[in-house]
Each structure stands twice: as C-alpha cells, then as structure tokens.
C-alpha cells in the first residue's frame, strides 16, 4: 500500500508533464469534424453573439467595432457610420438567431426578418471571446 502512493505519483507526474508539453489532437484543430467536439464552449459563442446584439442596440459604431474581429474591423471600417441609423433595427432582427453550425473557432448563425433568412458568422479570438466576422 505505501508503494501504491509512489506508483500513482509516478503516473501523475508523467501525465502532468505530458499534458504541459503537448496538445491533444482535438485541441490542435487538425481538421474539421462532423460533430464538433463537446469541449467547444457554446455558451461562449452565444455570449459573443449576444455582445454583438447589444453593441448594435446602442447604435454606436465604436461599440459595434469592438465586437468585430481584426480583419472585419478593417473590412467594415468605412461602412459602420453609413449603417448607424439602422443598427438598432438590425439588433432586433438578429434576436431570432439560431446557431446553425460551428467548428472549433468558427460559428454561423441564421436569423429571419420579415420572412427572409440571413446568416452571420463569428470567429474565436485568442482571449477566448467570439467576435463578429461577417454580417
């Protein structure tokens, strides 16, 4: 019995070293999967989408820009001011959203407005937040 503790300690020590030194295949994103891993935090995706809805609800281009990915910020830079007066309406429209599909760091929502359906997509950021990539 006293040796069992040493045995377990050896196994745990190597396991910890192993986990620190490597990444699992699932985390590695070595390819898409049919059913996304259960480790994906759907709540975080939905939180990201909610932050987008909230930002648009303010009608403030600056706040909306904060919810965009870096590439999207650059792409939409000169367009946000143009759509400012309709941001609140858009915020309402995307309340009908449903998460259509997602991978480890890409998510696509669909939503309907006046009987017409649309999509928007979010991407995972390095800080764990999901930001708007396309709308």
């Amino acid at each position: 019995m006293p040796y069992l503790r040493s045995f377990m300690l050896g196994a745990i020590t190597i396991a910890v070293l192993h986990l620190l030194a490597t990444c699992s295949e699932g985390d590695g994103g070595s390819g898409p999967v049919d059913n996304p891993p259960s480790t994906i935090d759907i709540t975080a995706i939905n939180n990201g989408a909610q932050a987008v809805e909230d930002a648009f609800a303010t009608g403030d281009p600056q706040k909306v820009a904060e919810t965009l990915t870096e590439e999207a910020k650059s792409f939409y830079a000169d367009k946000l001011d143009e759509i400012q007066d309709r941001m609140a309406a858009f915020s309402k429209a995307i309340q009908s959203r449903t998460l259509k599909t997602y991978s480890e760091y890409y998510a696509e929502y669909s939503y309907t407005d006046n009987g017409s359906s649309y999509t928007l997509s979010l991407a995972l950021q390095e800080d764990g937040a999901w930001k708007l990539m396309r709308f």
Binding site: P2, Y3, L4, S6, F7, M8, L9, G10, A11, I12, T13, I14, A15, H18, A21, T22, C23, S24, E25, D27, G28, G29, S30, G31, P32, V33, D34, T69, E70, E71, A72, F75, I83, R86, F90, A93, K100, T101, S103, E104, Y105, Y106, E108, D113, S116, Y118, T119, S121, A123, L124, Q125, E126, M133, R134, F135
Partner: protein, 658 residues
C-alpha cells in the same frame, strides 16, 4: 525502502506511458483520413477492378486492410512544434498507414500549416508558396527569420527537409523490393505507405480552395499567435469528414480525369488538381468580378485571380446565390450576397456554399488521389516459363520501368509457388530475379502460378499448365505467321461475311523473308514486285511483329500490315489495291505441335465468340479498284461481335514450311 519507492514511482510513470501510447495510436477519425479512405476506394474501383487495369497493375491484388500489419514510426502524440511531437514504433495495416499519413502530414501543426499551400498561378509575383500574411508567419514561425518559401507541391513530392515525401516513399519501395530480408521489407513498406499517406493529405489540400489561392487562414486553436494569421476560412472550417464519402461518387471533371489518367508523374497530378481548384472555386477572401457592384478581393495586396469571376456565373435573385455549372455537370453554389442592410452586399461563402463546393470537389480529389496511388505502384511482372511433370518450375520476376520508376532494379525477395492455387513452397530469386524449383510434385494439367508480395501488394503470374511441351521452342522453329479475323464485317458498301487477313507470302519464302525470333519477340518483312506471264505487275509488302509470353502460351501482341497491288497488263488502266492491318493482344494458345516424323511444327493462337473483341485493338481494310467504268473504294467500318449468323473468330498461325 527508498529504492522500492523509486521503483514504484518508475513503474507508475512507465504504466502511464504505455497506456498513453496505446490510447493515442489510432486517432484517425477526421477529415484527411476520411478523404484518404475515398482515395483508396477510388483506386480499387477505378484501377484494380477495372476491366483493363493499367499496365503497371496487371495481375496485382491489394490487401489494404487484412490481418498483416507492418511496423514503422508513427506520430503518437501530436504537437504544435517538433519539440512537442512524439514518434513511436507501431504496427498498422497498409490502410491504417495511409490514413495515419493523412493525419501525420499535419504534424507538427504550425510548421505544416505554412508548407501546405501551392498557388499554381503564383499570383503574388510568381511565388507559389504562402505569402498571404507572410510577414506575420515569418515573425512567428521563424523568429523573424526568413519565410521557408516552400510550397505544398515541392514539400509533398521532393523537398529534402521532409522525411515523408513522394520521392522518399519510392525509395522505401525500392528498398523493399531489393532486400531479401522479409522483416526489413515489411518495415520499409510501412514507411512507404506512410509517405504515400502524407502525399495523399497534400493532394487533398490541393482540393481545398484556400490552399491553392494563397489565402492564409488561422492556425491551430490554442496556439496563442494564431489570430495574427487571419480570420478562419469557412470552407476549411465547415467542410465535414462525412462529405468525403457522401460525395466521392459524384461527377469527375472530364478534363481533370483525362489529365490524371494519362499522367506519368505525381507532379502532373498535383498541378492538375491545384489548377482545377484554383480555377473553379473562390475563397471567402478572394472573390472578384462584377456582382451588385465591382467586387475586389478582401486580400487586396496582389492581383485578383483570373477565375472564377462573379460576372461569369449565373446569379439567382431568388436565393441571392451565384451558381457555377461545372464541366462535370454539377451546379455549385459559389457564394451569396444577401445582406440585411443593403439587400445585396459583399459576397460571402456560408455553410450551404461549403457543402455544395465540397460535393463538386470530393470526386475530383478522390480521382487525383487514386491516380497518385496508381503512380506510386512499381510495375512488376511475375512469370512462370516452365512447369514440367518431373517437378521443375522456372520463372522470373521482372521490374518494368515507368515514369516514376525510370531506373532498372531487380527484385530480390522470395516467390511463393502455387500449384492448383495451393501453397507449394517458397523460393528465393537469384540475382537476376529468376527462380527455379525442383522436385515439386506435379502432374500433367496441374496449374502452376508464382506470386510475390510486399507490404500488402500481391503480384501473381499467369497460370501455367504443367506440360512437357516447350511452346517457345516450337515457335522458334516456325518461319511464317498469318493472321485472320472472321466475322460479319460491315464495310462502306455493305455487310459481308468474309475474313480480313494478313497473309503469308503468296509464294515460297526466301530465307530473308522468314519470321525472325529474338527470345519472345518476332518480326517478319516481305517485299516483292514481279511481272507474271500476262504482263500483270504485282506488288506485295507485308510486315508483322509482336511478342509472346515467356512460356509461349500467350500471344502478348501482334501487329500485321499488308499492301498488295495488281496492275493488269501493267498499263495502269485497270488496277486493284488492298491494304489491311490487324493489331491483337493477349490471345490465348489454342494448340501447339512439335516437329515429329512428317509433321511440321505449328502453333495456333485462337479466340472465338463475342469475347473476340477484347483481343482486337485495331482493324483496317481498304480495297480500291480503278477500271474503265471508274473507281470503287470499299472500307472496313465495324464487326458485329455478337452476330449469331457468323460467330466471330480470330486465328494466328505460326507455321514452318521446311
């Protein structure tokens, strides 16, 4: 006491390692292994089970997923960089090795992510490697060093820094064929299969639009610098492993198929696949053309790709989708431009487009991959030349050079002898690849075959019936050959039942007109011009050549051509001309008679019935006559191979007239 604790600690550590390796050896469940599986299926269906297999796969059988496993180095623990990636020796079937290669090609992940791009057009100043966000890559990957400037094609096929290239795979195959040590042969083939698996991964990448359009996408999740490499690509993210099998049977682009099937090198297949993907598919950031307005790509630091272009696609206003009809017939959802704010906005690729594009890409990827497997296979022929009732079997393993294996080598492994399909023992070949077995228990009409195997590939000889007859020796005594094709032939002026023939000489042969033999090959040329007693001028030109199998029991090929001209009276006013040509292949032996007493030697090859068409490669018959009433031309068009009135028959007779 202390030592016992240390030993217990070590035992625990070892137990973890053993369990971890066991659990991690078979993680083959994602995209690339799934695509690899469709390539293997495609290879079996398109080539191994083909009615006429490719020349380098004649008499080949593949056991990709049997009981036999082969030991080699596998990635047993993935990582972002080589320092955190673990390799161990494991045993796998050929299929498992191929699928493992599909997985291990991405290991270690970060450097792999940089080397898996090939832009066939080199849109960025001729650079075919990844340059999109190249500055970030350089800084992150190489500690602000140089971009390695390695493209996927070079990395997959030839690059010296890659241990698992196409070239290295072929080297392992050659080593496997030229060793007499079975254990080593198995180990070499494990490596060869992994190399091929990694190449198949990269050809699959050539069917992934961002990899062929210089469009960087974010690096592996969890790696903290990934965001500097751009937003994720929708196709890369949303294409599902199940699409590979769901869509593998779809239409293949005719031009891609033709190009891949005639390719003699892996380079050609890579070029074809990458150009196809680049030409027909957008990525989310390389869309261009005229949509609701002029659309320039999001990646705007270099010219837009010449195709596809939005204005060349069909736009459906009902679903706001740009469609492309592929040469193979599929209608592909290329991108959409529906926008909440402006009704129609900047085009994008969503999940529906991804599936539609995958449906068009997957069959083409499977075709390209199947052709790579075809080209990877060395061409070997196993033949049994002699099997006599006294228990003697002789034969040879011959290596035939191909575009991918241009240098001669000699097989040095063992050969399994099968008598009536039962294992009758193994024999080691000599330094020339020849083998001899004595003292086997053989009786007349027993069927003998020989077989070699390497890494799950089996190459069998044609069956040889035990006989005391030496057909090749009889053939060597024959100095004349004739070819005849009987059947209901349709000509330009009607349908007749008459033979089309390449005859022998019209009169006795001179020695220079004899069939000459060089081992299994033969040729004959007759050229004559003479005037008969009525002053008619005759011209006769007949050529024949071909080869027989090592045992003479199969006519591998024969090509005969004759031209006859008869000028009545020699005035040129009444002239007849006949031109005939017949090309045959793989005609079976019908009978062979040696010289004995008053009988001259003869060998007949014959086939009869509707199957005759499979032996006939080419037939030409032209008859031309000019006389006072004008000119007549009759030309052969076709043969009714299924005629019940005249059963088709072909006959090749080797005879001796001395």
């Amino acid at each position: 006491m202390k030592i016992k604790h240390i030993l217990s600690w070590l035992a625990g550590a070892t137990a973890y390692v053993v369990v971890a390796l066991f659990l991690m050896g078979y993680e083959n469940t994602k995209m690339h292994p799934a695509i690899t599986e469709t390539m293997i299926d495609g290879f079996i269906d398109k080539f191994v089970h083909a009615v006429v297999p490719p020349a380098n796969l004649d008499n080949y059988t593949f056991v990709f997923d049997g009981n036999a496993t082969y030991s080699g180095p596998a990635i047993t623990n993935p990582g972002y960089f080589s320092s955190t990636t673990t390799t161990s020796t494991v045993s796998k079937t050929p299929k498992e090795w191929l699928k493992h290669g599909g997985y291990s090609a991405d290991e270690p992940e970060v450097p792999a992510a940089l080397r898996h791009f090939y832009d066939p057009l080199g849109i960025d100043g001729g650079k075919k490697y990844l340059t999109n966000r190249g500055t970030n890559w350089e800084f992150i990957i190489n500690n602000n060093g140089l971009n390695p400037r390695i493209d996927a094609k070079d990395w997959a096929l030839h690059h010296a820094d890659n241990s698992w290239t196409w070239d290295k795979g072929k080297e392992w195959v050659k080593k496997a064929l030229t060793t007499s040590d079975k254990t080593k042969r198995d180990e070499y083939m494990a490596r060869a299969w992994r190399c091929l698996g990694e190449v198949l991964h990269l050809i699959a990448d050539m069917g992934c639009p961002p990899h062929t359009r210089n469009d960087s996408h974010a690096a592996p999740v969890g790696w903290k610098y990934r965001i500097a490499l751009g937003d994720p690509d929708p196709f890369e993210e949303l294409v599902k492993p199940s699409y590979a099998a769901t869509y593998e049977g779809g239409a293949v682009d005719p031009a891609l198929k033709s190009s891949c099937r005639t390719a003699t090198s892996a380079d050609e297949v890579f070029e074809t696949m990458s150009r196809f993907t680049n030409k027909y598919f957008f990525t989310n950031q390389t869309i261009s053309g005229i949509g609701v307005k002029k659309i320039t790509p999001i990646i705007d630091d270099r010219p837009a790709y010449p195709s596809p272009k939005l204005d060349k696609l069909a736009y459906d206003a009902l679903d706001y989708t740009f469609y492309q009809t592929m040469p193979g017939g599929q209608r592909v959802k290329m991108c959409k431009d529906k926008n909440w704010f402006s009704l129609r906005g900047y085009p994008y690729i969503d999940a529906e487009c991804v599936e539609s594009q995958a449906a068009a890409l997957m069959p083409n990827i499977a075709e390209a991959g199947a052709n790579l497997i075809r080209l990877f296979m060395p061409a070997l022929e196993v033949s049994v030349a002699k099997a006599t009732p006294d228990g003697l079997v002789e034969g040879k393993v011959t290596f035939k050079t191909t575009g991918e294996y241009p240098d001669k080598l000699t097989y040095q492994g063992e050969v399994t002898i099968l008598v009536n399909n039962k294992d009758a023992g193994k024999v080691q070949v000599d330094q020339d690849g020849a083998f001899t077995v004595e003292n086997l228990t053989l009786a007349d009409n027993d069927k003998v075959t020989a077989m070699i195997s390497f890494g799950g590939v089996y190459v069998k000889s044609e069956e040889l019936e035990v006989s005391s007859l030496d057909v090749l020796a009889i053939l060597h005594e024959c100095n004349e050959v004739t070819i005849s094709l009987y059947g209901e032939h349709t000509f330009s002026d009607g349908t007749y039942t008459m033979p089309i023939s390449i005859p022998g000489a019209s009169d006795s042969l001179s020695s220079t007109e004899h069939v000459t033999w060089n081992g299994q090959s033969f040729s004959q040329t007759i050229e004559r011009r003479w005037k008969d007693g009525w002053q008619n001028i005759h011209i006769e030109r007949i050529t024949k050549n071909g080869s027989v199998s090592l045992d003479g029991k199969r006519l591998n090929s024969i090509s005969g051509e004759s031209y006859e001209e008869l000028d009545y009276g020699g005035t040129g006013e009444y002239v007849e001309k006949w031109t005939d040509k017949i090309e045959l292949q793989n005609v079976p032996l019908f009978s062979a008679s040696p010289r004995r007493d008053n009988d001259l030697p003869s060998v007949f090859y014959r086939a009869e019935g509707s199957g005759v068409s499979s032996y006939v490669m080419n037939v030409v018959h032209k008859y031309w006559r000019k006389d006072n009433s004008g000119t007549i031309l009759r030309e052969y068009i076709s043969t009714n191979w299924n005629s019940s009135k005249t059963i088709p028959k072909l006959e090749v007779q080797f005879l001796s007239n001395w």
